[in-house]
Symmetry: C2
Subunit: 188 residues, 2 copies
DNA sequence: ATCCGTGATGTCAGTTGCTGACATCACCGT
DNA sequence: ACGGTGATGTCAGCAACTGACATCACGGAT
């Protein structure tokens, strides 16, 4: 018999998502999350710096994926093409995870605090992409703007994907949204 | 003799900015801010929902200005042109406020919590602009993307304006950044 | 001139997020 | 058999925030 059940971190994440879904983020106590996971409040804060962080453990993986794809895009690709390649990789990663994404997103949009956290994760992602573009030789201002545009495309496409019952795949929505952005801001 | 010194709210804002600048956001207590303003912690929380909000009272004015300019743009203007008009108005508003903006921005970038708050303010601004575009008849997805692009342009231009000692006016940087974005994401 | 309602402030007690310091104790290698 | 290690627990404490109630100058109504 083992001393502790395995994967305390994962149990905390599950418990948190479930409780946030039932009573909402603000009406859930860290002590309650920990208790449902069979752990202590103190242990929760050893895994997560923050009550909010428990919903964002996937963001580092997402960042690695995106950055790798941007860096690994063919040398001939322009900045925006490299970002598009990154978005393709991200789109593929979300395949089959629509249900989980929906559940999580419902919790996030219901709480201002969690929306804040999500925005800063996206901003960090954008900065990492801009940095990756920099390593490809793209000048700083253009890199930042291209990365920010990519994040805007991601936000819009992701929202459509989560809200829309009909579309099972994220990738086509990403492509579409990038095209929409292009036509939207093209000079008249 | 008056019962209370006037403009408690303003005194709290000044005291907060000063203290955050001296010791940083996390090392400043709400009680300290209130005390420097000659008030009580409880009173602070009557004016501001949050310790962070004390730095963001201007954002509602910014939003009104921007939305009004977008709505009031000539009917012939495209979505992105309406947003550009809004950015012009915003650029004009910041004339002569560079010192204050710098001081405030230094405090904000030094604190993750404050950066979060700033991002959600910008996102709210973006949503308001998208809504304004919607009232101009722009379809929802295009409206969101155009507004997000506008916010990205604002972020980048504002950062350049604050960081760069040479440029006194924000407006030209906004124009430039919009052009940069256009060329950055144009189809190859 | 007196009284009374009002609004900005203060006081107090309580909950919750979060942290530092220290204790515990099964497991694992020596 | 033994000692080190790492994941966990316990406890005390600060600071952010909130609800309930008190205060009291001011200004208008009587």
């Amino acid at each position: 018999m083992v001393r502790w059940e395995p994967d305390g971190r994962g149990r905390l994440e599950q418990a948190a998502l479930a409780l946030f879904g039932e009573r909402g983020f603000e009406n859930t106590t860290v002590a309650e999350i920990a208790s449902r996971a069979g752990l202590t409040e103190r242990t929760f804060f050893r895994y997560f710096t923050d009550k909010r962080e428990v919903l964002f453990s996937g963001s580092t993986m997402l960042q690695e994926l995106l950055v790798d794809a941007v860096v690994g895009a063919p040398e001939s690709a322009s900045a925006i093409e490299a970002v598009a390649a990154g978005l393709d990789a991200v789109g593929a990663m979300f395949d089959g995870r629509q249900d989980h994404a929906r559940q999580r997103q419902a919790v996030i949009v219901a709480s201002a605090e969690l929306r804040e956290r999500e925005l800063i994760k996206l901003a960090t992602l954008g900065a990492a992409v801009a940095d990756a573009l920099g390593r490809r030789g793209v000048p700083a201002v253009a890199a930042t703007l291209t990365a920010e545009a990519g994040m805007a495309v991601f936000r819009v496409a992701f929202e459509r994907w989560v809200d829309d019952a009909g579309s099972a795949e994220l990738q086509p929505l990403l492509r579409e949204s990038l095209e929409d952005l292009r036509t939207a801001i093209a000079a008249p």
